[in-house]
C-alpha cells in the first residue's frame, strides 16, 4: 500500500518535472532529435552512456567546431576542412589546406555517422572519437596548436566558461569536457535520409538507371566492402592505388605490418556525390574517374585486395554504361536534409 503511494507520488512528481522542463526547454530539441539510431542502422559503436548528448553539450561542441580559437593563430576552425555542403569534406581540395595555407597529405574524410565508426583517419590511427580532435588541432600543418593552449584560451574567453557551465554544470574547462563536447556535435551528424533511404522506406522510387545501378553495385562486388546501410565495412584495404603522390603507405604507418602497406580505410559512400575529389589523396576529380579506376586502373600494390583480383585481370569488369548506372545509383546516397540541416550549419 505504502509502495503504491510512493509510486503515485513519484509519477506525479516526474510528470510535473516533465511539464516544467518542457515549458523551459520547449524550444530545444529532445535528446532523441539530437541523436537517434535511424531505422535499419545497427547499434552505435560509440558508447553514448559515457557522454550523454544534451542540447547545451551539442551547442558548445558546434561552437567549438566552427571556432578558429582551436588553431594557433585563430584562423583555422574544424569547419575549414569539413564543410557541411560537401558532407563535411574540404570541397575541391585534393589535399586539405591548413594553417599558413600549408597543404596536408590527405584528403579530409567526410564526417557523417561517426557514432558507428570504430577507427578514425584514413589509416585508423585513432580508435576513439573523443581522442580524435587532438590530432588536427596539434598537427603542425592543420591547426598547429597545443590542447593545453586551447583550454587556456577558452578559459580566458568571455563566453566559453558560461557555455561549459551550461553544458556540464560548472565553469571548469577540462580536456575531457572539451573533447566530449566536440564529440557530441559530431555524433549528431547523422545522414540517413537520402533518396536511397526513402526508397528503402517505400517513400521514393528509383529511376531505371538508379535501380540497375543498385543491382550492379551488388553484382560487381562494390557492396562487399561498401557494405551494410553504412556503406562501409570499416576495414582497411588496398584498392589498387600506388603511392604515386607522397609515399603515403596508409594503414602501415600505424600497424607497421608489411601486409598493411597501401591499405586505407574503406570510406562510406553516403553523400559521395559531394565529397569530391576522391580517394585518400584526392587523386580523382569525379566519380567517373573512380569507376574508371576500378575498371581499368587497378594496380598490383603488394597488398591488393583479393576482391579486385579477377581471373586474368585486375579490377572489376564493367562497361562504361555499367559504370554510369552505378554512378546514378551512388547519387541516390546524397542526403539533402543532412547537407542543408541548419542544426549543423556554420553559426
Amino acid at each position: 500500500m505504502k509502495m503504491t503511494h510512493w509510486r503515485t507520488a513519484a509519477l506525479v512528481v516526474s510528470f510535473m518535472v516533465w511539464l516544467v522542463s518542457c515549458s523551459i526547454l520547449g524550444r530545444d530539441a529532445s535528446p532523441e532529435t539530437l541523436f537517434a539510431v535511424p531505422a535499419g542502422f545497427p547499434e552505435p559503436t560509440y558508447n553514448l552512456s559515457k557522454n550523454p548528448i544534451t542540447n547545451d553539450g551539442v551547442a558548445l561542441g558546434k561552437k567549438l567546431f566552427y571556432d578558429g580559437i582551436l588553431s594557433r593563430d585563430g584562423t583555422i576552425a574544424c569547419g575549414e576542412c569539413h564543410n557541411q555542403s560537401h558532407a563535411f569534406t574540404h570541397h575541391g581540395h585534393g589535399f586539405s589546406h591548413g594553417i599558413d595555407n600549408q597543404e596536408g597529405t590527405r584528403n579530409a574524410p567526410p564526417l557523417a555517422n561517426l557514432a558507428w565508426q570504430d577507427s578514425f583517419f584514413w589509416d585508423g590511427g585513432v580508435f576513439d572519437l573523443d581522442l580524435f580532435s587532438i590530432a588536427p588541432i596539434e598537427n603542425p600543418i592543420e591547426m598547429d596548436e597545443k590542447i593545453g593552449n586551447v583550454l587556456a584560451k577558452l578559459r580566458a574567453s568571455k563566453e566559453y566558461p558560461s557555455l561549459f557551465k551550461k553544458a556540464y554544470g560548472s565553469e571548469d574547462i577540462t580536456t575531457e569536457r572539451f573533447l566530449k563536447a566536440l564529440s557530441q556535435f559530431m555524433l549528431t551528424l547523422v545522414s540517413a535520409n537520402s533518396k536511397y533511404d526513402q526508397f528503402l522506406a517505400g517513400k521514393a522510387q528509383l529511376t531505371a538507371d538508379e535501380a540497375a545501378g543498385l543491382q550492379l553495385f551488388k553484382d560487381k562486388g562494390c557492396a562487399s566492402c561498401h557494405s551494410s546501410i553504412l556503406f562501409t565495412d570499416h576495414s582497411f584495404r588496398s584498392n589498387g592505388l600506388l603511392p604515386e603522390y607522397n609515399g603515403d603507405l596508409g594503414r602501415y604507418r600505424i600497424t607497421e605490418n608489411v601486409a598493411d602497406k597501401n591499405k586505407f580505410k574503406v570510406p562510406t559512400l553516403r553523400n559521395i556525390e559531394v565529397t569530391y575529389p576522391y580517394m585518400h589523396d584526392g587523386r580523382f576529380l569525379n566519380l567517373e574517374g573512380v569507376l574508371q579506376h576500378y575498371a581499368e586502373g587497378v594496380k598490383e600494390t603488394g597488398s591488393l585486395d583479393q576482391l579486385l583480383k579477377q581471373p586474368g585481370r585486375l579490377g572489376i569488369n564493367m562497361t562504361k554504361e555499367e559504370q554510369q548506372k552505378i554512378i546514378a545509383f551512388l547519387k541516390t546516397l546524397t542526403d539533402q536534409e543532412f547537407l542543408k540541416n541548419p542544426r549543423f550549419a556554420t553559426p
Binding site: N47, K50, D118, S119, F121, G124, G125, V126, F127, D128, D130, L131, I134, A135, I137, E138, N139, K146, I147, G148, V150, L151, T174, T175, E176, L179, K180, R251, R253, I254, T255, E256, N257, D260
Partner: protein, 264 residues
C-alpha cells in the same frame, strides 16, 4: 609553571618509552608513505641537461636536452612474495623538472619490502581508456611543447630521449628517441611496455607508522644504447616497431642504490 614543565617532561618521557616498546610491532592498520627518488646518471656521471657531453657504447658523443619517462603499475614485494600494488598511479619523470624526480606512494601498509617492480610506460588498458581516465600526467593537455602523447597514432610516448650528437644524420645534428607502442587496439602492433624489477638489496624498506622509507633509484641512461643502438644508424626513432632495442636497453637502466628507513 613548574607543574606544567614537570607534566610535559613526564608526558614526553612516557611517549618515548611507549613508542620504544612498540617499535617492533606492526599494527594491522599501520600505514605510511614510501618515496622513490629517481636519480638519472649517464654511466658514472650525474646527468646534466644541455651542457655536458657523454659517449655511448658505439663511441658516439652526445648531449641530452630531454629525458622523460612514465612510471606506472608499481608493486612493492615482501620477502614472503606478497605484493602491494598501486594500479592507478601514473608518474611522469622529467629531468628538466626536479620535483617530478621524486614520487610518493601514500598509504603503504606497514611491512618489510624487499623489492619493487614498475612499468616504464602507460599500460594498454589505460592507453585505450576513456578520456575521463586521462587526468594529471596522462592529460594530453598537460604537456605543452614537451609532448608525451601521439595524437595521430593514439598512445603515449613512454620514454623520450633527445639531444645533440655529431653522429646524428639529421641536418640539425639532433637525435630524438620517442618510444611508445602499447600493442594496439584495432590491430596488433609493437608492444614496447617494459616492466622493471629492482631488488632493495640487503636493506628492506621498512614501512612503519613512524617510518616512511625512501628508495633511491639510480639510472644509467647509457643502457638505452646497450642493445646495438647507435645514433648514426637511427637518429630519429618515433615508430614503435623500430623501438624494441631501445626499450630493451632502457629497461636495464634502473638500479636501487639504497633505502632510507629514517624515523619521522
Amino acid at each position: 609553571m613548574k607543574t606544567f614543565k614537570f607534566l610535559a617532561i613526564a608526558l614526553i618521557a612516557s611517549t618515548l618509552f611507549w613508542s620504544c616498546n612498540k617499535e617492533e610491532e606492526i599494527g594491522p592498520n599501520d600505514k605510511n608513505a614510501l618515496t622513490v627518488e629517481f636519480d638519472n646518471y649517464v654511466g658514472n656521471e650525474k646527468l646534466v641537461l644541455e651542457t655536458k657531453s657523454y659517449k655511448n657504447a658505439a663511441n658516439e658523443d652526445f648531449t641530452i636536452t630531454t629525458l622523460n619517462y612514465f612510471v606506472s603499475n608499481i608493486a612493492l614485494k615482501k620477502a614472503d612474495g606478497t605484493e602491494v600494488k598501486f594500479p592507478d598511479k601514473y608518474f611522469l619523470i622529467r629531468q628538466a623538472d626536479t620535483k617530478t624526480l621524486t614520487i610518493s606512494l601514500p598509504d603503504v601498509p606497514a611491512g618489510d619490502y624487499t623489492s619493487m617492480s614498475y612499468m616504464i610506460g602507460v599500460d594498454s588498458l589505460k592507453s585505450i581508456s576513456d578520456v575521463a581516465q586521462r587526468t594529471g600526467v596522462l592529460d594530453p593537455a598537460s604537456y605543452g611543447t614537451d609532448n608525451m602523447y601521439w595524437s595521430w597514432n593514439a598512445g603515449y610516448i613512454f620514454f623520450k630521449l633527445e639531444g645533440n650528437s655529431s653522429a646524428a644524420t639529421t641536418p640539425t645534428k639532433k637525435f630524438q628517441f620517442h618510444i611508445g607502442g602499447f600493442g594496439g587496439k584495432t590491430a596488433v602492433t609493437a608492444n614496447n611496455l617494459r616492466t622493471v624489477t629492482a631488488s632493495f638489496g640487503t636493506t628492506a624498506a621498512q614501512v612503519r607508522k613512524d617510518i616512511a622509507p625512501t628508495v633511491h633509484v639510480i639510472t644509467d641512461v647509457l643502457q638505452t644504447f646497450s642493445q646495438g643502438v647507435s645514433i648514426a644508424k637511427t637518429s630519429v626513432v618515433m615508430n614503435p616497431a623500430a623501438s624494441k632495442p631501445i626499450a630493451d636497453g632502457y629497461a636495464k637502466m634502473f638500479k636501487v642504490e639504497h633505502v632510507h628507513n629514517d624515523k619521522m
